[in-house]
């Protein structure tokens, strides 16, 4: 059941330049699955729209959000300290279909601020998984957490760690293969993942991003083109906030 509430900040930590980790005391995540997200609200009356942020880790009665400071709203969140509170709405979206991973070898692919949701996703997949993460440079936030869950490979844009290049360069350089992909990251990465999955003939589930207003499927602000007609308007426009953010790669336009 979705709800909006005021959540207490338990901790705030800077993981890398512009990347912050915040634990919140809230039961909003208790029934959530990885790949779902929450909306955070600014305290400043000039900023009224929510900032959607993916769930990085889900503890009992608490959630961890790892986010990039991209503007004044996220900068405000990064200045919150333990004991402060923040308005949060969630859980939102569908999340990764963990059942699909059963009995399969899974690629968990994250790029940039698409890395965080892979932490809880990796924890919830008991079977074989290979983690392939893309970063700008050797400031590899969440590497430790991810390494604890399975084999970890990294690609960095500047080549300062792992493979120089993108996540698929790391897949090829390390001769990796899998039966299924769960991916989250910037659109160019998702496009490459979609093409790779098609080429390999394996299913891929990707998590999409778009500017949102309501976050619950009412306003139709955050649609993406889809192959099939959508359930809402029957016009091939899936709602990222409600029908997604996770879609079969072949289902959505990128």
């Amino acid at each position: 059941m979705k709800r909006k509430e005021s959540a207490k900040v338990l901790s705030q930590e800077c993981l890398a330049p512009g990347i912050f980790s915040m634990w919140l005391l809230t039961g909003i995540g208790d029934e959530a699955v990885p790949g779902q997200f929450v909306s955070l609200y600014s305290r400043d009356g000039s900023r009224l729209l929510p900032r959607p942020i993916s769930l990085c880790e889900i503890g009992e009665g608490r959630i961890r959000l790892v986010y990039r400071v991209a503007g004044a709203g996220t900068a405000e969140f990064s200045a919150l300290r333990a004991g402060d509170s923040v308005e949060v709405l969630g859980p939102l979206g569908n999340g990764f279909p963990l059942k699909e991973a059963e009995g399969k070898r899974v690629f968990l692919i994250g790029g940039g601020i698409g890395v965080p949701p892979m932490v809880e996703t990796a924890k919830r997949i008991p079977g074989e998984k290979i983690l392939v993460m893309g970063y700008r440079d050797s400031q590899m936030f969440l590497k430790e957490e991810l390494e604890q869950t399975g084999p970890f490979f990294a690609a960095t844009e500047d080549g300062s760690f792992g493979t120089r290049g993108n996540v698929l360069d790391a897949v090829r350089e390390n001769d990796l293969s899998a039966d299924l992909i769960f991916a989250c990251g910037p659109a160019p990465m998702l496009r490459a993942v979609k093409a790779y999955a098609k080429e390999q003939g394996i299913p891929a589930w990707i998590s999409m991003e778009e500017r949102m207003a309501c976050g619950i499927g009412a306003c139709l602000g955050c649609v993406c083109g889809s192959k099939e007609v959508d359930g809402h308007s029957h016009v091939k426009n899936k709602r990222i906030c409600k029908d997604g953010p996770v879609f079969p790669a072949e289902e959505v336009e990128l």
Binding site: R211, A213, C214, I216, C219, H234
Partner: protein
């Protein structure tokens, strides 16, 4: 204490409605609010056929508000009647169907399709571009607004609310035009046309270049226009534009609105509609107002 209001012969249990396009057909928000407690649910605009809407980005935050250019994506009247109306009829609230179109015939088709349906009121969105008149909105020409009102009224079985565009020189003239065309009520304001530019990418924030500005930023313009419209016509006026609290809603009511619609505020606070109902009641208690209708247009 009586919170009920009358709009063209339809009694709303309280003056709080939702604003078209911000509340879907109620389903998504029913997880947060008891729709039975609302004066009315106003649906997202419905056309005669499904509309795919605009490319993304469709949304941009602005200072104290937002721009949207959804492009009236909707499933068309068939799906609406089959799926959305039955959902809404489960609740003890009034149903106002917002109607959009590209040409007059589109509107009339939707209105005719709804004639036998369990709909309480129709709200006609005339801020859509009039395809036959070079794309200027019906709601930006008094003549076109009066004509479409007349065309819709001829076929409508339910009372008709004409929703006015604020992007005009003289809102009183527009209100009088739709009254002359036979409108049973007017609602305003629709969004103000705005634009945002991303200076770092050097591009428009919205794929559509322009979008509709809403949120508390526009409230003073909306209150002014509601006041002017209420002075200009005898039919009821429904006020909206940046309402996010009972205080805001009361501003519109005192300016002459018989009821109000709450839109963008739902995105910030999904509980806001009912908080406003409670807040109006508290205000009436505080000042010993027995009937909310005493407040309508009380500031002159």
């Amino acid at each position: 204490m009586d919170l009920s209001v009358d709009i063209a012969g339809v009694t709303l249990k309280n003056p709080v409605m939702t604003a078209s396009g911000t509340f879907g057909s109620g389903e998504e928000y029913s997880e947060f609010v008891d729709l039975n407690r609302l004066g009315a649910v106003v649906t997202k605009g419905v056309a005669n056929v499904p509309w795919p809407g605009n490319p993304t980005p469709r949304i941009a935050e602005t200072y104290g508000g937002m721009l949207n250019a959804i492009g009236l994506q909707n499933p068309g009247i068939d799906v609406f009647v089959r799926r959305d109306l039955p959902f809404l009829k489960q609740f003890d609230t009034k149903v106002v169907v917002n109607v959009c179109g590209r040409i007059t015939e589109d509107y009339v088709e939707v209105v005719e399709r709804l004639s036998e349906e369990p709909v309480d009121l129709l709200e006609i969105n005339i801020s859509c571009p009039n395809v036959k008149e070079g794309g200027i909105a019906f709601g930006q020409s008094a003549k076109a607004a009066e004509a479409i009102t007349r065309a819709v009224k001829e076929k409508a079985r339910q009372p008709v609310i004409m929703k006015l565009s604020p992007n005009v020189t003289d809102i009183a003239e527009m209100a009088r035009a739709v009254e002359a065309g036979g409108a049973d009520a007017v609602s305003l304001i629709n969004t103000l046309t705005g634009m945002k530019i991303d200076i770092h990418r050097r591009t428009f924030a919205l794929a559509n270049k322009t979008g509709g500005l809403s949120g508390p930023a526009v409230r003073p313009v909306a209150v002014r226009m509601v006041y002017q419209a209420a002075q200009a016509v005898k039919i009821p006026v429904i006020g909206m534009g940046g309402i996010r609290s009972a205080e805001d809603a009361l501003e519109f009511i005192l300016a002459g609105a018989a009821a109000v619609s709450v839109g963008t505020a739902n995105f910030h606070n999904p509980y806001v509609t009912l908080e406003i109902v409670d807040g109006i009641r508290a205000y009436m208690e505080q000042y010993g107002v027995q009937d909310v209708r005493e407040l309508v247009g009380a500031v002159k």
